[in-house]
Amino acid sequence: MPVIEVKGLRFRYEGSESWSIDGVDFEVSEGELVLVVGPTGSGKSTLLRAIVGLVPHFYKGEYHGSVRVCGIDVPNTPVHVVATKVGMVFQNPETQLFSTTVEAEIAFPLENLGIPRSEMVVRVEEVLRATGMTELRKKNPAELSGGQKQRLAIASILAMRPEVLVLDEPTSMLDPISASEILEFVVRYCRSERKTLVVSEHRLDLLVPLVDRMTVIKDGRISFDGPPHEFFLHGTGEEFRIKPPRVPEIYHRVAAAVGLERSVRVPLTAGQLVELVSSGDP
């Protein structure tokens, strides 16, 4: 049974003329890692908001269709109930941190949920360890680096032990090194804890080889949904105004230049490319 079930979703923000999500069916099964991509304004954030229920509870508008997550009927359930199953993290770490120490920030959602203190202490410890922030526990979030701040934003969501993680461009305000550290951490965490992940990103290089699925959105509709190597089979997605990852791009250019027949499995990492070249029959 899928963890996330979006059926026939259409949504138009209050006061907006056009449909930001215009007929989307989207299913994710347990433990699956899904990368959502698409040009700016295509509706990625809107879809992710609909999964936690920010659409239609926080963002009002015209809503059709159904969204079920972990068996919960999202449009008819308050966000704070869905949020214990679906943890959401946004772009800007600055506006997601409210406390004056790292450990207090991790405990903040648990306090809001009225979790007993003894349980809270255990969870804070667990999350500090999982995110490698134990040393920073007494620090003021204001004094952390951008990457550490975003790691903390994720940590405080993990304290609620959600089954699904939804990240909306979690690295767009970070430098490339922090960005890849964060994404690697998230992928490793979701794999080892069997969590489901839905993440939207503009930087594809790192995630494309790591995820199970790529969902491409354009004008509020899904225009591709499948394994990443299939998406890059015929091109590199310029028609979606996606900045292509390097390896498939190089592969296609070389293939075009020397007139190669394209492989059925497009390489996504440097390693796969080397393997393909050295196998001698691309």
Binding site: V81, T100, V124
Partner: protein
Amino acid sequence: MAANIADLLRYREVESPLIRLDPRVKLLIAIYLFSTTLIFDRPFWLSILVSTAVLFTVWLTLLSIGASRRLLRTIRALSFFLAFVVLLNALGFVSQGLNPLTPEFVAITSSQLMRFIAAIVSFSFFLLTVSPEAFAATLRSLKLPYDYVFAMTAAIRFAPLFLEEIQEVIDSQRLRGVDYSTRNPIKRFRNYVRAFVPVVINALKRSFEMAEALEVKCYGAVRDRTSFYVLRAKGSDVGVLVASTAAFATLVTLRLLL
């Protein structure tokens, strides 16, 4: 200037017995110090003596955690009000047909200035020695509704960000040739307003993002919120509480006997 204020608001964790003292006890001591300066209102030499002692106490405590310079800045920030106290006093003298250019006026006014400074500064004993977390926990222990406590801690958390942003806008506009040191007050005011607009727009956008983040962090989900930081009085806290209460009681008795 904005950076200075931001610095004042940024609490730094230091290891010291004072920092570890229960914040409720610190609040109580601050109230004792405050009340002491208030009850010793005359004769002027005694009130100067008591105020100086209070100032000295606060200065010593702040010195022990390396925050004594903040005390000076607090006093400097008060200078406008101090001038106001002098002016009021002078007016009071004149209205009673007395000459303010006498030793008597100087004695009374300086004792009032000292009491005023000591009264305000006595709260630094609490404010500058508690972490924001301890501050929030104290407010909660006084049964203040959590929404207010949260608003206050969030303000402490976001004020430096806000001030930093103002500084950034001013700096970038200065690079574009906007003159913030102009003598013309109207021009100057207009320049500051112009710097303020992008900051306010950003703040609005930010408050929206914050509301969204609070929502997914389950803010307000249950009525019986629990807390991670709890205040637990130790033996030493009780000791300090008893000693300071005894000292205060002695001072009150002295004042009544005098």
